[in-house]
């Protein structure tokens, strides 16, 4: 109970729309304050006296709370530490106390209604004069609260991978999704959909009379994660900024003064996929590849806008044509699924995570088209505008950390794919040829992780041999 207090934060007055910026008191606030922050404007201008009361996170699994009752009513004078409202979480009812003295100016979320964690549920004015102003705010807010207020609050755990990655648009939690739409879904189907954040309106019902059954929702969910598996090679941690790390290791009680930051949707998706990957038996095969010829080619085609990524993707795709089993996947543990296309997913670190834009039909497109395509994808990824099929349709993943000077590393196989290739830096190396002559050649180490249920050691070795040959004789890449 004691910890449930600090949900009031100060907000700058000035603009019409409520900006709930700022001073979330540090203790257990669950929402990512950074995403809220960009709203702040002229914060210095007026010393505001209107604060918001937020829906608190009363338990680690709580995503939304229901207002059981307002202990205080509008106009009541509150003093710090007094109970104001009773909130029902998934676990219990709890009194929520104010953290400040003031007057309860407006109730934004009335009794019996539900609001997501972090959404404003009431306004607290410091003086009577401000009540009217707060009320006006509340009015404007109740109108607009649905989208802007809810949008930046997705500290949800366990979500499916996310369109939210590409579009930070509101993922409205649609509280009590029971509109007058004529969609027939069984109670459990609705629950599942809510749990997995599937839009029930988009699920195709196959049950009796076309109703949506739990199986339909499950199917919709399974399809989403099995393909999208935004493939996360291990370098994720190395490549992406580190706050995720802190959160990842926090099963022990955090040291005093440490901060706990919930996963963003993308990080949650990464986390889920990584855990899921543990169920696949993988093995790794490394192979040194001489890249002198490739480097020479790269210098030649660089002016035409060809990138090393495109070259490697093309090479991998061409090798995959000859070794379809490496491009296959094992979905159910009982069968091979041979993919009709060769879609090379390439891991890209973006701010706060990573994503794997997919070069579709990499074997069929020529190098220049491929490079152009790649450029577009990277731009889209940075702008978070990738469409789901542009990041979840990969059949083979390429992860390159060579640019950091990494000479070799080991990638985690994303669930739903057969193999992932980890490419290290190309370095000048002294080699002895068959005649005993020494020479210095550029060599890079390539390490492939594969699903041993379908790809065996010899398959992978043969694939790597082919790949090495292609790289060492790269003329075919430009054809």
């Amino acid at each position: 109970m004691a910890s449930s207090s600090p949900f009031l934060s100060k907000i700058p007055i000035s603009n019409r729309t409520i900006c709930f910026a700022s001073s979330l008191s540090p203790i257990p606030s669950k929402f990512p304050s950074k995403s809220l922050r960009h709203h702040r404007r002229n914060a210095l201008k007026v010393q505001s006296k209107i604060r918001e009361i937020f829906m608190p996170a009363l338990s680690s699994t709580m995503t939304e709370g229901k207002i059981v009752s307002w202990i205080k009513s509008e106009g009541d004078v509150l003093s710090k530490g007094e109970s104001v409202v009773v909130v029902e979480s998934d676990k219990a009812d709890m009194d929520v106390e104010t953290f400040y003295d003031g007057i309860l100016a407006a109730i934004v979320v009335p009794e019996g209604e539900t609001a997501p964690v972090g959404a404003p549920i009431g306004l607290l004015a410091e003086t009577e004069e401000e009540i009217a102003e707060a009320k006006a705010k509340a009015a404007s807010q109740t109108g607009s609260t649905a989208s802007p207020a809810i949008a930046p609050t997705p500290p949800r755990a366990t979500s499916t991978p996310a369109p939210a990655i590409s579009q930070p648009t509101p993922a409205p939690a649609a509280p009590a999704a029971e509109g007058p739409r004529k969609i027939v879904a069984t109670p459990y189907a609705k629950k599942l959909a809510k749990q997995h954040k599937v839009d029930i309106n988009k699920v195709v019902g196959t049950g009796p009379f076309g109703r949506i059954t739990p199986a339909d929702v499950e199917a919709a969910v399974v399809i989403t994660p099995s393909k999208p598996v935004a493939p996360k090679p291990a370098p994720a941690a190395a490549a992406s900024p580190s706050p995720a790390k802190a959160a990842a290791t926090s099963s022990a009680s955090p040291l005093p003064g440490s901060t706990v930051i919930s996963f963003t949707t993308m990080q949650a998706a990464v986390s889920k996929n990584m855990v899921d990957s543990l169920s696949v038996p993988t093995f790794r095969v490394g192979y040194p590849v001489t890249t002198n010829a490739l480097d020479a080619l790269y210098e030649k085609v660089k002016p035409k806008g060809v990138t090393m990524t495109a070259l490697l993707a093309k090479a991998a795709a061409m090798a995959l044509v000859q070794h379809p089993v490496v491009n296959a996947s094992c979905k159910d543990g009982k069968s091979f699924t041979y993919n009709s296309n060769i879609n090379i997913a390439v891991a890209v670190a973006i701010n706060g995570g990573l994503i794997t834009p997919v070069l579709q039909d990499a074997d069929k497109l020529d190098l220049y088209l491929l490079s152009q395509k790649w450029k577009e994808l990277v731009e889209k990824a940075r702008a978070k505008q990738l469409q789901p099929h542009e990041y979840n349709s990969g059949t083979f993943t390429l992860s390159n950390l060579g640019m950091f000077g990494v000479d070799r590393f080991d990638a985690i196989l994303p669930p739903g794919q057969g193999a992932i290739m980890a490419v290290g830096a190309s370095k000048p190396t002294v080699v002895a040829d068959a005649d005993g002559f020494f020479s210095v050649k550029s060599k890079m180490l390539v390490n492939v992780t594969a699903d041993h249920r379908i790809v065996y050691g010899a398959d992978l070795a043969a694939f790597l041999q082919t790949f090495a040959k292609i790289v060492e004789n790269p003329e075919s890449l430009t054809l």
Partner: protein
């Protein structure tokens, strides 16, 4: 009182006695009847014939002839007979009638019981008893299916499954076993079982007989009406017994639908939701009031909803009436039209595989011949005073006529009927007795169970306000109970509502493992007037679930005024000590 009544918004049925037609929606929150639990638990003795509708029609057809005959008999026999065939005749051999008969024999009365259908009434044949068989199955299924629960106990179970017919047979076998027990106990005691539909002809005179056979007329010094109730079916609902069913049909478990709507979230609805979800169905509740489980103590109801509804494959619509329910036919699903309970606006239409009507029960007093003794039912219920004596249309007591159980609507529970019957027998054998209905426990056999006795917290607070006494509440959790934790069933709450000034127990509500068995310590305390300050010293075996109540009583904080006696002894002690000190000096 009012609020408890509302448990049954759906169930608080207004039943014009003439026929089962309703001119208004079954929402009649005005009448302050005692607690009426809409449960399988309540009994109705019945003229509940195998096919009720036929039976009713039959009655109507017979009416004219009967009334003629009655008038004749009234002319013949305007005054009560001088000598009687029996000391006591009970109309209806349900649990209420059975309890009364047993006690009457014990008191030395020559007793007969009239039954038009099967002995045992609703409880044994179509209510508590078979439903407990289904719930026993559902409880085990639930446990076996809960991988998490099993794992926590270190058990491994491969996929649990069930055979529908086997489950149905278990329920049916249990009912027939209990029915035989009941019949045998009556026969063994020398109670005459008269088969046929009983009709009151006049004071102390009853006619019974099967359709098509000549009627027999018997006389008795006292008569008890114990005809019970039947499932209440609101207007607009078409019951076909296959896809739109009442508890009568559901207990036969003829099929387990994928998706069933349960209209009414009282006891019956809750228990069936437990059964159906355990057997793999999905359930949608339709409740006319704004919240589910309206009759329960709000806190218990909320907790129960968290455990019994939210995590299960159940959703609900509250504040709506099912205005029209059409059975599945011609390849179409069951359709249920919902209208807003307040505005009566059309809100939604549900299309499901089956619908169970659990909107409560209506008294079965049709064709009882009450008009012959100038008694007018109130929405089907026979009006009685607190001693179960029947009140006629002019507000006068009808001598030698009593009504117990669901038919009087005081408290629609099997054991309440039985208790009322015993109370009546006490009176007619010369010992005045008034039953304290607040000491009658009630239970809902979900998993875990819910039980209660006495007042709910809002009721107690209201009473405290009007009668100017303080009300306190104490609570204990099953999470602190060793036995509950050993069973890995720590979910639960026991709540005590009491007067801190006197230590009087006003109500106890339990939600948790075996709550239905635990409530009796509290109900007995209320019945016997035991105060908290006394019962808290009673010893409970360790480790048992009953320690939940032990702890509950011990956690109550009493404000008994410091007694004069204590004060005086204190003074004496002090004085004694001082004296010793002086002596020592």
């Amino acid at each position: 009182m009012q609020s408890s009544f509302s448990l049954s918004c759906s169930q608080a049925t207004t039943v014009p006695r003439s026929n089962y037609t309703f001119d208004s929606l079954p929402f009649a929150p005005s009448k302050p009847i005692n607690l009426r639990f809409c449960g399988l638990r309540r009994e109705a003795l019945g003229f509940s014939s195998l096919s009720r509708s036929h039976f009713r029609r039959g009655l109507q057809l017979h009416t004219p002839t009967r009334s003629k005959r009655i008038s004749a008999s009234l002319v013949d026999n305007g005054s009560p007979p001088k000598s009687f065939d029996y000391d006591l005749i009970i109309i209806g051999a349900g649990v209420g009638g059975h309890g009364a008969a047993l006690h009457a024999v014990e008191k030395g009365l020559k007793t007969a019981i009239i039954e038009g259908d099967v002995v045992g009434g609703t409880c044994v044949n179509r209510g508590c008893v078979p439903s407990k068989a289904l719930l026993a199955v559902s409880g085990r299924m639930r446990e076996l299916q809960s991988e998490h629960h099993m794992k926590a106990l270190g058990l491994q179970v491969s996929a649990a499954g069930y055979d529908r017919q086997g489950v149905a047979d278990h329920a049916n076998n249990l009912a027939s076993k209990i029915r035989n027990n009941l019949t045998n106990s009556l026969k063994a005691l020398g109670v005459d079982i008269l088969t046929g539909v009983g009709t009151i002809l006049g004071p102390q005179k009853v006619k019974y007989g099967k359709a098509g056979f000549p009627d027999n007329i018997v006389t008795a010094k006292d008569i008890i009406i114990a005809t019970g109730s039947v499932p209440f079916v609101p207007k607009g609902v078409e019951v076909d017994g296959k896809t739109v069913i009442t508890s009568d049909h559901a207990l036969k478990l003829e099929f387990v639908p994928d998706w069933i709507v349960i209209v009414g979230s009282g006891y019956i609805g809750l228990e069936f939701s437990d059964v159906y979800t355990a057997l793999g169905s999905e359930v949608t509740f339709v409740e006319a009031l704004d919240q589910l489980m309206p009759g329960f103590d709000p806190e218990i109801g909320k907790l129960a909803q968290r455990v019994l509804i939210n995590p299960r494959k159940i959703d609900y619509h509250t504040g709506v009436f099912a205005s029209k329910i059409t059975p599945a036919k011609d390849g179409k699903p069951v359709t249920i039209e919902l209208i807003d309970a307040k505005t009566k606006e059309q809100k939604d239409t549900l299309e499901v595989d089956a619908a169970l009507i659990a909107t409560g029960r209506a008294p079965f007093t049709n064709g009882l011949g009450l008009e012959n003794i100038n008694v007018v039912t109130q929405r089907g219920f026979v009006p009685v005073d607190e001693r179960m004596r029947v009140i006629d249309a002019d507000g006068n007591l009808v001598p030698h006529l009593y009504c117990i159980g669901d038919a009087n609507g005081k408290m629609m529970l099997a054991h309440a009927a039985s208790a009322q019957g015993i109370s009546v027998v006490e009176q007619i054998t010369g010992r005045d007795h008034v039953l304290n209905h607040l000491s009658i426990p009630a239970a809902c056999f979900t998993h875990p169970e819910i039980s209660m006795v006495g007042l709910t917290e809002p009721q107690a607070r209201e009473k405290g306000e009007t009668e100017a006494f303080e009300v306190s509440v104490a609570k204990t959790s099953f999470k602190a109970n060793t036995k509950a934790l050993a069973e890995n069933e720590g979910e639960g709450l026991a709540k005590l509502i009491y007067r801190p000034d006197t230590g009087e127990i006003l109500g106890v509500h339990i939600f948790g493992l075996h709550a239905a068995d635990l409530i009796h310590e509290a109900s007995n305390a209320i019945a016997l007037g035991t105060r908290i300050q006394d019962i808290k010293f009673a010893v409970h075996a360790h480790p048992t679930l009953s320690e939940v109540l032990d702890e509950l009583f011990k956690s109550a904080k009493l404000k008994t005024a410091p007694s004069m006696y204590k004060l005086v002894t204190e003074v004496f002690n002090l004085w004694g000590r001082l004296k010793l000190m002086f002596q020592a000096r």
